[in-house]
Structures are given as structure tokens and as C-alpha cells.
């Protein structure tokens, strides 16, 4: 079985977000970049399937050269080869077009992604890739088992879970507890240096979304502390001042 795992290269979840150039550019100064946390779950499940379903795992990122350490980390975790589509990920449609083009060439049985990227938070690249390839997509997936040509899945829905069966090929957006994050070991890190990392040029795609400006939320005022023995005062403030009760 051939598995493609699509990973985004995103600021660490603890990063403070700020912008430069008159709020038109993300300020990466001092920011640590990681494999998107949801993509990391997808990768972990793919690496597990290498053994149980005799799979080969290719990781893919649409990004400029600065994302290569992130791809190398995915190789160290256990992917067999990496592809970097050499382009700025302009928007979901652009990224999906690139992934779909690589998927057509590689003929993968399973395309695993995260449920969403934590920078853009679109939650749509998987559905777009499914549509472009004319195959089903499911997200957010919490459980994935392969049985022959079928996948058995659990998907989170508002207030519960849905169990599904779907034929391969298939695109999935993953989240916990599909697998536990894997930390690269020394052997993985050594072997990642020599695993293939292919750089390919993007196919033509018009994005349709143009960034105008970033904004930060207004700063929060100071908290109003209420003594523990005066809960009635809290109720009064919520009613009369905040008007939320």
C-alpha cells in the first residue's frame, strides 16, 4: 500500500503571533516551526501502517526551502521519502491543487492529512483534494483500520462519533487518538539524512484568495477579582455589567 502524508510547517503551539511590514507579513523572528500537530497524528498512524499493512510512506509539503528541516523530521519519524513542492502555500485551493497533482503521479491508496493546519485553520485542503481526485474524503478521523480494500473509520461529529466504511483510495483529515505522536530516535535521525527529498516545481493554479492585512485581537483589560465569599457579587456583575446571564 502507498500512503501520502501531507504536512504543514507551522509555528509551535506556544508561539506568540505578531506581524511586520504594516501587518502584511507573519513575523517569524524567534518562532520555532513544527510539523502541524494534527499532521503529526496522521504521520504517526501512517508509520504504524508501514508494519501492519506493508505500506510505504511519502511525506509532502508545499512550501519554500525553509520547510526542509520539517520534512527531514518527518523522515526521521519514519517516512520513506519526501516531496517538497517549491512554492509559497498561497491558499487552500492552491495547496490542494499541488497535492492532487502529486497524488495523480504517485497513485497513492491513502492520502492522510491533519484535520486542519494551525496557522491558516482552513480545515478544507483534504476535502478539496478529494474533490479534485474524484474520491471520498473524511475528517476529522479518530480511528483508522485497513481491511483489504476498505477503511474502517471513526469520525468526530458535534456531540459524538460516527463510524464509517469507505473504499480506497481515500483522503483523510486526522486527529487524536488515531495514533500517538512519535518522537524521532537517533537511528531515525541518522537515516533521515540519506533518505530521498525530491524538490518539484508547482503546477499552475490561481488561488482566488488575496491577503490584505493581518490583525491582532484587541488587548484584554485587567481581570476583576471577586472574593471567594462573595459569589452573589459575581452573579450580579455577570447580569448587570457583562450582560451575559
Amino acid at each position: 500500500m502507498k500512503i501520502l502524508v501531507c504536512i504543514s510547517h507551522v509555528p509551535d503551539t506556544t508561539s506568540r503571533i505578531s506581524f511586520t511590514d504594516n501587518n502584511t507579513r507573519f513575523d517569524a523572528t524567534g518562532v520555532q516551526f513544527i510539523i502541524g500537530p494534527y499532521d503529526d497524528y496522521a504521520l504517526a498512524r501512517a508509520v504504524e501502517l508501514k508494519e501492519s499493512a506493508e505500506a510505504t510512506v511519502t511525506v509532502l509539503n508545499v512550501g519554500l526551502a525553509e520547510t526542509e528541516p520539517t520534512l527531514r523530521k518527518a523522515l526521521a519519524i519514519g517516512a520513506d521519502e519526501a516531496i517538497r513542492v517549491n512554492a509559497q502555500p498561497a491558499d487552500a485551493f492552491f495547496v490542494a491543487t499541488q497535492i492532487a497533482a502529486q497524488a495523480r503521479t504517485g497513485q497513492y491508496d491513502l492520502i492522510l492529512m491533519g484535520r486542519e493546519s494551525i496557522d491558516y485553520n482552513g480545515g478544507i485542503v483534504h476535502a478539496m483534494v478529494g474533490e479534485m481526485l474524484g474520491i471520498p474524503s473524511v475528517s476529522p478521523v479518530m480511528k483508522l483500520e485497513i481491511e483489504g480494500n476498505m477503511a474502517k473509520l471513526a469520525r468526530e461529529i458535534e456531540g459524538g462519533k460516527e463510524y464509517l466504511e469507505a473504499p480506497l483510495p481515500l483522503v483523510l483529515g486526522c486527529q487524536e487518538p488515531i495514533a500517538e505522536w512519535k518522537i524521532p530516535n537517533m537511528r531515525g535521525i541518522m537515516s533521515a539524512r540519506t533518505k530521498p527529498l525530491h524538490v518539484v516545481e508547482p503546477v499552475a493554479a490561481d488561488s482566488g484568495v488575496e491577503l490584505k492585512q493581518y490583525e491582532l485581537p484587541p488587548p484584554k483589560g485587567a481581570v476583576k477579582l471577586i472574593p471567594a465569599e462573595q459569589v452573589q457579587e459575581l452573579v450580579r456583575l455577570l447580569k448587570q455589567e457583562a450582560k451575559v446571564l
Binding site: 456531540g159 466504511e165 472574593p227
Partner: protein, 317 residues
């Protein structure tokens, strides 16, 4: 401009988030059609006029009772074409967002998810969306002629109209390949307020010490007509179900009031709650980081404060 709204059903009834999607569409144009898929209560459909819908297009086909993404995308795209719509609007959800994404590809439309306010169209078609898991916003222009927009909770203010929507039947073309995915079973909490839609959320963290203490939070939630949430470790340890976990890797909520009890306020938890209008924090540690993100706080022991707070709210009702 013609705007089509996808209104999702839950057990045959229109979901409350559809009212916000219609209000959002109304902010763009007066001509708002609403697509409804599957068996539904017909009186409820005409009543969508109350929120500003002029027409309801109803694909009343029982194959559409289950929310199968590909089938839904196919039907909504057909309705989009048939109504000559320019814009599709839906409220973000586990079904509507992927469906809308597939429609955007079929229609070659520009798409934005997580949109937080009705656009001001005077300077071109620009929308404001939430990014970096609520830590920032981006203003983006949607440059293609057709547009697909999914909105976050509270993106539009619901207004009331004295309209009755006309209800038109729509016969979709469906193919077997739209149904290659089969839903084998569903587990869903019934009779509960769903966390992503709740106006008030009562959330507990590791400070609650164990699942046996959730009764007091549930009682507070019941009195407030609120949903219950939790921090990630709480769901990791199995004290509460996974779909209640709030934050970066869980549900993002946007209630009027978020009450956090025994939660330290790690940045990943705050990422899921920073769209809340008002935040109350109850924690015994005065240095808990959550107080910096709170509007009101009480420093003290949750096990003493929560029962008293519940009583005080009952007394004030």
C-alpha cells in the same frame, strides 16, 4: 447578487446555526435562498422567512437523511447552479465545511472558512477570518466571481423579519459513487446542548481531581442551560469524552460566557476559548495564567465555590 445558504438539519430540524448563516447572507443581499437536504418538518422550512430567507429549496430525498459529504456537495452544487447563485454561505461544522469546500472546487469559487463578521463590500469583496487558532485575524479578498464562505459562531447578528419563505421542491441527480462511504453507526449525546453551539459553557480541568466530581459542574451547567467542556488532559485521562475537550486540538467555542474551573490556562487551551465574549476563571492559584485572559475571577477552592455559585444563580433567576 444571489446568495444561497446551506442550512443543516439535525434530526429533521434546522440547526440554530443556520439562522446566523441566513443573517450573514442578509448582510450581503436581500435575495437569500436556503438549501435544505433530506426529510424535514415543512412548517419549519417556511418559517426560515423569519430570519430573512426569501426562498427555500428543498431536496427532500431520503438518501440525503444521512450527511454524506460527497452526495451533499453534489446536490448543493446543483442547487447553486440552478439558482444562479454567486455566493454560498454555511455555518462551519464537521459536515458543512467539507461540503462547502467540495462545492468551491466544483464551482471554481474563491473560498474562506472561519469568517467572523459580515463583510463591508464597499472596498471589494473582503472578509475577515480567524487564523492561528483565534490568536489573530486576516482580512482577505475573494477574487473569483463565485465565492464560498463558511462562518464562525457569532459572525452575524440574528434579526427578525415578517417574511414567509416560499418552499420549492428540488429533484437532485444522485449517482451511486456519491454514496461510496457508508455510515455504519452513530453515537451521539442526546438532549444535551452541543458545545460548539452553546451560549454558555462550563468547563473543568485537572483541578477537578476526578470524573466523580463532575456532578457539580453538570448541575451548574443545567441551571445555566449551558454545555459542559473540559481541558485536554481531562479527556486524555478519559474523565470526559473527547468531543468535550476545548482548545487548540479540540473544540473552539465562542459562547457569551465561558466559566473555567480548575484549568490553568495553557496557551493551547486559551486558543479554543479566546472568541468568548466573557470569561470567568475559578482557580485556587492566584498566579494561574488563565486569570490574564479572564474578565472576572475568583481565587479559591472550586469544591467550595461551585455549589455556592450554583445556588446564587438559582436565587437570582
Amino acid at each position: 447578487m444571489n446568495v444561497l445558504v446551506f442550512a443543516e438539519l439535525s434530526e429533521g430540524k434546522i440547526k440554530s446555526s443556520a439562522a446566523e448563516a441566513i443573517a450573514f447572507a442578509r448582510g450581503i443581499t436581500d435575495k437569500v435562498s436556503v438549501a435544505v437536504l433530506g426529510n424535514a418538518d415543512e412548517a419549519g422550512l417556511a418559517a426560515l422567512g423569519k430570519y430573512g430567507a426569501t426562498k427555500v429549496i428543498w431536496a427532500n430525498d431520503e438518501r440525503l437523511n444521512a450527511g454524506i459529504i460527497q452526495a451533499y456537495a453534489s446536490v448543493i452544487s446543483q442547487i447553486f447552479t440552478a439558482t444562479q447563485a454567486d455566493i454560498l454561505v454555511a455555518a462551519d461544522s464537521s459536515l458543512a465545511t467539507p461540503v462547502a469546500a467540495r462545492v468551491a472546487v466544483k464551482q471554481q469559487a474563491s473560498m474562506a472558512t472561519n469568517v467572523v463578521q459580515v463583510p463591508d463590500l464597499s472596498a471589494g469583496f473582503e472578509v475577515k477570518r480567524s487564523i492561528f487558532t483565534g490568536k489573530a485575524f486576516a482580512r482577505v479578498a475573494l477574487t473569483k466571481p463565485k465565492k464560498v464562505i463558511t462562518i464562525k459562531k457569532n459572525a452575524a447578528e440574528i434579526k427578525e423579519y415578517s417574511l414567509t419563505a416560499s418552499v420549492e421542491a428540488f429533484k437532485p441527480e444522485l449517482s451511486d459513487s456519491d454514496f461510496s462511504i457508508r455510515i455504519t453507526s452513530t453515537e451521539k449525546a442526546t438532549g444535551h446542548i452541543l458545545l460548539p453551539e452553546a451560549d454558555i459553557v462550563v468547563s473543568g480541568g485537572r483541578g477537578m481531581k476526578g470524573p466523580e466530581h463532575w456532578g457539580m459542574l453538570e448541575e451548574l451547567a443545567r441551571v445555566l442551560n449551558a454545555a459542559t467542556g473540559c481541558s485536554k488532559p481531562v479527556s486524555d485521562m478519559g474523565w470526559r469524552p473527547h468531543h468535550e475537550h476545548v482548545g487548540q486540538t479540540g473544540v473552539k467555542v465562542a459562547p457569551q460566557l465561558y466559566i473555567a474551573v480548575g484549568i490553568s490556562g495553557a496557551i493551547q487551551h486559551l486558543a479554543g476559548v479566546n472568541s468568548s465574549k466573557c470569561i470567568v476563571v475559578i482557580n485556587k492559584d492566584p498566579d494561574a495564567p488563565f486569570f490574564k485572559a479572564a474578565d472576572y475571577g475568583i481565587v479559591g477552592d472550586a469544591f467550595e465555590i461551585i455549589p455556592k455559585l450554583t445556588e446564587a444563580i438559582k436565587a437570582a433567576q
